[in-house]
C-alpha cells in the first residue's frame, strides 16, 4: 500500500470513526514524497570509484500534522509502510498522540485554494529513472574527456523524479510529479562549475558553464598582482547565494522575528523601514518554470504565489508559515527552499561581461571558507577567500588569497554596491566596497 493512501485512510478513520475516543482527530494534514534518485560520480579523475559508484535510491517519506479533539497538536515524520518496521495504524496513532503538545497558533488547517500551474517536471528526467540513463553516462564520459589534462577532477551528476502528495482534512488533495537534475564538477578542488534545476541541462548551458569554469581554472595557474586600497570586490553568484543563505534567509523567517531571534523586529516591518539600497527588490517566486525552488503548493497546503519581501529597499513581509501568519496577522506567504526560489534584483543591473570590461582593479571571489560560522543576526562577516581571481583592466589575470571583513546588510544598503546579472545563474554578481586584506 502506498504511504499516502495508508495515511489518508488512517487519519480519515481516526476523524470519523475512531477506535478510541482519546485518539479522535479533529483536523490533519499530510505531505508525502515518493522519490527515485540516481547518481554517478568522478573521484580523483576516475569514474565510478568505490566512493562514487553508480547509485540508486527509492523511498517514500513525509510529515503528518494532527490536531486532536482536545485541541493539542502532533507532528511526525513518516516513512514507507511495508516491511518489518511498519507499525499498525493504531500503534502509530498512539505514538503520535503521546507526542501531542499545546500550540494554539498552530491549529489552523487551511481550506483548499486554486493551485497554479507551474512547470516542475521534466519528462526527460523521468525517462532516466525509468532506465534510459545513457545520457548520464555520456555526460560522465564527456567530463572526463574534456577536463584539463593536468587537473584532478571531482564530479557528480544526479537525477531525481517522483511524486509529491499534499492532503488535508479540509478537502485539499493535490498530487503532482516533480523532477530534479544536478551537475557539479571541480578542478583540483579549487574551482568548480555546476547546474541545478528541475530539468536537464541544455547543450548551450553545458558549454557556457564549462568554458567559464575552464577560463577561471586557467587564470588560477598564474599568480595575480597584490590587491590595493582601490581594489573592487566582486562576489560571484555562488558567493552571493551563500551570503543570502547565511544572512537573509534566517532573518526573514517570520517565527524568528516574532520570537526576537532575528536581526529585524516586527516594528521594522510595520514601519516599512528602508533597510537596503532603494533599487533593491527581494522576492520569493515559486512560479518560475523548472527552478529548484518552484512548487505548486507548500507542505501546509498554501498555493504557490509570488511574495515580495523587500521592495525598493523597504521591508514588506517576512516568510510566513500558516502559524506565523496567524500570529503576524497576515496571510501565509511563499516559502523559499533554502535559497532556491529567492531572487535578489536591482533596478539598475548591468550584464556581467559589460561590467567586467569596466573593472580596472578588482578581485572576483569564487568561494569563501567559513560562511556557515558567521553570526547571522549581526550581518557581519569575517571570511577567508583563498584562490580568488584578480581583475586588471577588464580581464581576469591570476589568483590571489584574500580575507574579507564587512557587513552584508551594509553592503546591500550601500549606494556604492552594484548589481550585475549573471547569464548562467539566478543570483547576481555584487560589486562591493568592503574590508579586503591579503591573507
Amino acid at each position: 500500500m502506498k504511504l499516502i493512501a495508508h495515511l489518508e485512510e488512517l487519519l480519515y478513520k481516526a476523524q470519523t470513526s475512531p477506535v478510541q475516543l482519546k485518539l479522535k482527530v479533529r483536523d490533519w494534514r499530510i505531505v508525502v514524497h515518493e522519490t527515485q534518485l540516481t547518481s554517478l560520480g568522478i573521484k580523483d579523475s576516475a569514474p565510478g570509484s568505490v566512493y562514487t559508484p553508480p547509485s540508486y535510491h527509492q523511498g517514500e517519506s513525509g510529515e503528518v500534522v494532527i490536531i486532536w479533539e482536545d485541541g493539542r497538536l502532533s507532528r511526525a515524520n513518516v516513512q514507507a509502510v511495508s516491511g518489518k518496521n511498519a507499525q499498525s495504524g493504531q500503534e502509530q496513532l498512539q505514538e503520535w498522540y503521546q507526542a501531542a503538545y499545546e500550540d494554539p497558533d498552530g491549529r489552523e488547517i487551511p481550506a483548499p485554494e486554486a493551485i497554479p500551474l507551474v512547470a516542475v517536471e521534466d519528462r526527460a528526467v523521468q525517462k532516466i529513472l525509468a532506465g534510459e540513463d545513457e545520457i548520464l553516462f555520456e555526460q560522465l564520459s564527456r567530463l572526463l574527456k574534456d577536463r584539463p589534462e593536468q587537473a584532478e577532477m571531482q564530479a557528480s551528476i544526479q537525477a531525481a523524479w517522483g511524486y509529491r502528495h499534499v492532503r488535508n482534512s479540509k478537502g485539499l488533495a493535490v498530487s503532482y510529479q516533480e523532477s530534479q537534475y544536478a551537475l557539479s564538477y571541480s578542478f583540483d578542488s579549487l574551482v568548480g562549475g555546476g547546474f541545478a534545476k528541475r530539468r536537464l541541462i541544455s547543450e548551450e548551458e553545458w558549454v557556457k558553464t564549462w568554458q567559464q569554469t575552464l577560463a577561471y581554472y586557467q587564470a588560477m595557474q598564474q599568480e595575480g598582482a597584490p590587491i590595493g586600497p582601490q581594489t573592487t570586490v566582486v562576489f560571484s553568484p555562488g558567493v552571493v547565494d551563500s551570503f543570502l543563505g547565511q544572512f537573509i534567509v534566517p532573518n526573514f523567517v517570520g517565527q524568528s522575528i516574532l520570537e526576537g531571534q532575528s536581526a529585524y523586529r516586527v516594528e521594522h516591518f510595520e514601519k516599512q523601514e528602508q533597510v537596503f539600497n532603494e533599487g533593491l527588490t527581494l522576492v520569493v517566486d515559486p512560479l518560475r518554470p523548472f527552478e529548484l525552488g518552484s512548487y505548486l503548493v507548500t507542505s501546509e497546503g498554501i498555493a504557490a504565489e509570488r511574495t515580495i519581501l523587500v521592495q525598493k529597499g523597504v521591508l514588506k513581509t517576512p516568510f510566513l508559515r500558516v502559524k506565523d501568519a496567524h500570529r503576524w496577522g497576515g496571510k501565509p506567504t511563499a516559502l523559499p527552499q533554502g535559497t532556491s526560489g529567492l531572487y535578489l534584483k536591482h533596478d539598475q543591473e548591468g550584464s556581467w561581461p559589460e561590467v567586467l570590461v569596466g573593472i580596472e582593479d578588482g578581485i572576483l571571489i569564487l568561494s569563501v571558507l567559513g560562511m556557515h560560522t558567521q553570526n547571522s543576526t549581526a550581518g557581519e562577516y569575517s571570511l577567508s577567500a583563498p584562490q580568488s581571481l584578480r581583475i586588471h583592466n577588464g580581464k581576469i589575470v591570476g589568483k590571489t588569497d584574500v580575507k574579507l571583513s564587512g557587513n552584508f546588510f551594509k553592503d546591500l544598503k550601500s549606494p556604492d554596491t552594484r548589481f550585475t546579472k549573471s547569464e548562467l545563474e539566478t543570483k547576481p554578481y555584487l560589486l562591493v566596497k568592503t574590508g579586503l586584506q591579503t591573507l
Binding site: N85, S189, T377, S384, P386, S405, G435
Partner: protein, 495 residues
C-alpha cells in the same frame, strides 16, 4: 525493528543470495525531539527512519550502490540485485576497480548498548514536562534574553553484513540538550548556543541536578552582550589562547580531514598519494588521537563497512604517525586500515571520517576550578602571568566559543569562527568582536605550545564532508596556548 530482527534479516539476505560480493547495511533509527521558544512549545516530533543500503562488487572490483527505505526480505533482495546490476554497468564504463574489501577480516560481533536508560524510559509527555521545566528555569533567571531550548534523543540501530560472513551490529544512542540565547545591545543582535550531550535521557536528570548548561547559557549570554558593545580588533597575528571547543575545531578541520585516506591524493599531508609519515607537524609533546569513546556524541564501535573502529595515534610527540584509513583507500594512502568508514545513514556511501579527535599537549599547566566564566578567565590570565607565558605588551587574545570551521585539505587553508575574544594582556580583560581565525594547517599546529587545565573531550559538532551530516566530537585541555605565527591570523579591521 530491533537488533535481533536486523541480524535475522541480514542473515536471510545472504542465505539465498546469488549476487556477487555485497556489503549490506541495515539501519533502524528512531528519534524524538522538541523545541521551545520563550516559554512555548514550537515543535514536538517523533519519527522513524529505517532502510537498507547495499554496495555490490564485481569480481574485478567495480561497485554499485542501491538503497531503499523499507526493511523487508523482498525489498532487500531487490536492492541487492539493483546494486549488483549497477556494479556490472560500472565495470562496462571502465570504472576504477577496488578489491580491497576482499582482504577485510571476517568478524561476527555485537556491541554492547552503552545506555543506562532505554529509549522509552520516559514517555514523550514526561519528556515535555522535564524539558519545559529546564527551559522555564532559564527564562526565570534572565527573562530579557530570547531563549530557545531544544532536546532530541536518538536510537540508531545498525547491522552490517558482508558476503564473507561478517555480521556486526551495534546501537548508537544519542541525546542532546541545547539552549540558544539571542541578546540585543546597542542595536546589535548576537546569539549564543550551548550544548550538553550524552547517550540517553540521563543528561536531563543531570541538568536538573547541577544546572550546568543553564549556568553556561547565562554566562555565555552575558558574554554575547559584551560582544555587542565590543569594538573590532585590528587584524593581525597574535599569541592566542583557544578554548577546547576551538581546539576540537583545530584538530578536526585543520588536521583530521587532511589525514583521511580518501583525501591523500589532494592532501597537504600527502605526497604522491601517500601519507607523509614521519613528518614533523608540531612541537615535541603534542599528541593527536582519534577514536570512539563510549558515551560520546560521535561514538561508533564499528565502521559502516563492518570493521572494528580503532583508536589511532595520528601525531605522536609532534610527528605524523598514522592516518584514518578505511578498507578501500588505506593501503593506497600508505596507512593502516583503522575502520574509519562512516556514513550519515544506510542511504549513503561511507567515507573515512573522524569520531572523537583530541589534541593533547604533554606540557599541561593546571588551572584551579573557578565559580564562573569571568573568574576562570581571570585565573587563566593569572596562571599565564605566573608561568611567564603572558605577553603583557600588545595583545594576548583568548578566543571563546566555537562556531564552526572549514578547511581546504589541498591548500592547507583553514578558518574557524568564535563567539568573541578577550585580551588577557589587559588586566581589565576587554572584549572584542569575533573575527575569522585563519591560516595554514601546519603553521597552526606548530604554534601549539602548551595546554591549560584538564582534558575536555565533549565538544560536539556535525561533520559535513561530502554533503553528509555525521556527528563528530573531540577537544583538548580546557584551553590551548598558541604562539604568535605569521601564517595564523585573525581577521577584523585593517591593521
Amino acid at each position: 525493528m530491533n537488533q535481533n530482527e536486523l541480524r535475522e534479516l541480514v542473515d536471510q539476505l545472504f542465505k539465498e543470495s546469488q549476487n556477487e560480493y555485497c556489503i549490506v547495511r541495515l539501519e533502524s533509527r528512531r528519534e524524538w525531539g522538541m523545541r521551545l521558544s520563550n516559554g512555548r512549545f514550537e515543535r514536538v516530533s517523533s519519527g522513524w527512519d529505517s532502510g537498507i543500503g547495499v554496495q555490490a562488487f564485481t569480481q574485478e572490483g567495480a561497485s554499485g550502490f542501491a538503497s531503499a527505505d523499507v526493511l523487508s526480505l523482498e525489498v532487500g533482495r531487490q536492492v541487492m540485485q539493483r546494486a549488483t546490476s549497477l556494479a556490472e554497468r560500472n565495470a562496462q564504463i571502465g570504472a576504477e576497480c577496488n578489491r580491497e574489501i576482499l582482504k577485510a577480516p571476517r568478524i561476527e560481533e555485537d556491541a554492547e548498548d552503552p545506555r543506562v536508560f532505554p529509549f522509552e524510559h520516559f514517555s514523550l509527555a514526561e519528556l515535555q514536562t522535564k524539558v519545559l521545566g529546564l527551559h522555564q528555569r532559564l527564562l526565570e533567571r534572565n527573562p530579557k534574553i530570547s531563549w530557545q531550548t531544544s532536546y532530541r534523543q536518538v536510537e540508531d540501530l545498525w547491522c552490517i553484513g558482508r558476503s564473507d560472513g561478517t555480521r556486526v551490529s551495534f546501537v548508537i544512542p544519542r541525546a542532546l540538550l541545547m539552549h540558544q540565547g539571542t541578546v540585543r545591545e546597542n542595536e546589535r543582535a548576537q546569539s549564543t548556543l550551548v550544548q550538553r550531550s550524552g547517550v540517553d535521557v540521563g543528561i536531563l536528570q543531570l541538568e536538573q541536578e547541577d544546572a550546568f548548561l543553564e549556568t553556561k547559557a547565562l554566562e555565555r549570554a552575558e558574554f554575547a552582550k559584551a560582544v555587542c558593545r565590543a569594538p573590532q580588533l585590528p587584524s593581525g597575528h597574535y599569541p592566542l589562547v583557544i578554548d577546547y571547543g576551538l581546539a576540537k575545531g583545530l584538530a578536526h578541520e585543520a588536521f583530521g580531514h587532511a589525514v583521511e585516506s580518501d583525501h591523500m591524493k589532494e592532501s597537504v599531508l600527502g605526497e604522491k598519494g601517500k601519507l607523509k609519515k614521519g613528518l614533523k607537524v608540531a612541537r615535541s609533546g603534542v599528541q593527536i588521537i582519534d577514536g570512539p569513546l563510549v558515551g560520546d556524541w560521535a561514538y561508533q564501535p564499528y565502521s559502516a563497512n563492518g570493521l572494528k573502529r580503532e583508536t589511532v595515534q595520528i601525531v605522536k610527540d609532534g610527528v605524523l604517525l598514522a592516518g584514518l584509513g578505511d578498507i578501500f583507500s588505506a593501503e593506497e594512502a600508505g596507512m593502516e586500515v583503522t575502520g574509519a568508514g562512516r556514513a550519515e545513514s544506510y542511504g549513503y556511501i561511507p567515507l573515512p571520517r573522524m569520531t572523537n579527535i583530541r589534541l593533547i599537549v604533554d606540557q599541561a599547566i593546571p588551572i584551579p576550578q573557578a565559580p564562573s566564566l569571568r573568574e576562570e578567565i581571570r585565573q587563566v590570565r593569572e596562571v599565564l602571568k605566573e608561568k611567564g607565558e603572558l605577553r603583557e605588551e600588545g595583545k594576548h587574545l583568548l578566543l571563546l566559543g566555537y562556531r564552526g570551521g572549514q578547511v581546504n585539505p589541498k591548500t592547507g587553508d583553514f578558518v574557524f569562527q568564535c563567539d568573541g575574544m578577550i585580551d588577557l594582556a589587559d588586566p581589565n580583560l576587554p572584549v572584542y568582536q569575533p573575527s575569522i581565525f585563519s591560516g595554514k594547517i601546519l603553521s597552526a599546529l606548530q604554534a601549539i605550545r602548551a595546554g591549560l587545565g584538564q582534558g575536555c573531550y565533549d565538544a560536539i559538532g556535525t561533520c559535513g564532508k561530502s554533503g553528509q551530516a555525521v556527528p563528530s566530537s573531540g577537544g583538548s585541555h580546557r584551553y590551548l596556548l598558541l604562539e604568535q605565527d605569521e601564517q595564523v591570523s585573525l581577521g577584523g579591521e585593517q591593521g
